[in-house]
């Protein structure tokens, strides 16, 4: 459980780095290979490693799915802090529905 929480945090930071690196693309397509994107992809790989570790018995997919949804909440936080993206009611409602939905899919995977 803790492992998957760690995985969700790594994943969300990875997403933040992807966004950070994606902004480089405004300078041209050759900038697709920059260290920020590389860092983002690496963080995703680290995240999936922790996720797989968390999946080993007695880890259950039904419990772990909701933890992945938590990474969307982290991402909202990083977007606000690092990219000054505003919290809006639209995002809150959408996120809430999605997190609840992922939890339900998890509950159905028992």
């Amino acid at each position: 459980m803790l492992l998957v929480l760690v995985a969700s945090i790594f994943g969300s930071i990875g997403a933040a780095f992807l966004k950070y690196g994606a902004q480089e693309l405004h300078r041209g397509w050759l900038h697709l290979f920059n260290w920020r994107l590389a860092a983002g992809v690496s963080l995703f790989l680290i995240s999936s490693y922790f996720f797989v570790l968390g999946l080993r018995p007695p880890g259950e997919l039904s419990v772990l799915y909701p933890m992945v949804a938590v990474s969307y909440i982290w991402t909202l936080l990083w977007s606000r802090i690092f990219f000054k993206e505003p919290f809006t009611r639209q995002k809150m409602i959408g996120l809430l529905l999605i997190v609840a939905g992922v939890c339900c899919v998890g509950a159905g995977s028992r």
Partner: protein, 132 residues
């Protein structure tokens, strides 16, 4: 692709507003395809170990799809907001649930259906051209 065409009248007044969401939409389909290929590959691994994995075509195909999907995500993030686009990736769960029912005959139940409905409506809310 049809989504992009349908969006074009709106896109004129707010450029690059809905297009990123359509891109992430494609991402989730590719991501789901990747997971199905990986599952197919994992089911038929003959020799465990690195060599067995590399020789495994479906598994490698899955990784390639993941790569393409990541590139698409980055292109979408170039113009879109991270906080808006990242949760849309949850659509992957929807495709994977449907595909694993169709291909692997995994069972589908009320919880999964309800979850899918919630995710789709959540993505609908996020995708509806943002009012700030």
């Amino acid at each position: 692709m049809s989504a992009t065409i349908a969006d074009s009248p709106r896109a004129s007044d707010r450029p690059a507003r809905r297009q990123p969401v359509a891109l992430v939409f494609c991402c989730t389909i590719l991501g789901a395809g990747a997971q199905v290929l990986m599952k197919t590959g994992a089911n038929q691994i003959a020799h465990p170990g690195l060599l067995g994995m590399i020789a495994n075509l479906p598994l490698m195909g899955g990784y390639c799809l993941y790569g393409i999907s990541t590139v698409l995500l980055v292109i979408a993030l170039k113009d879109g907001e991270l906080s808006l686009l990242y949760p849309v990736i949850a659509l992957t769960y929807v495709w994977v649930t449907v595909l694993s029912f169709l291909i692997f005959h995994d069972q589908i139940n009320r919880w999964k259906l309800f979850g899918i409905a919630l995710i789709v409506s959540g993505v609908g809310v996020l995708g509806k051209g943002g009012r700030r």
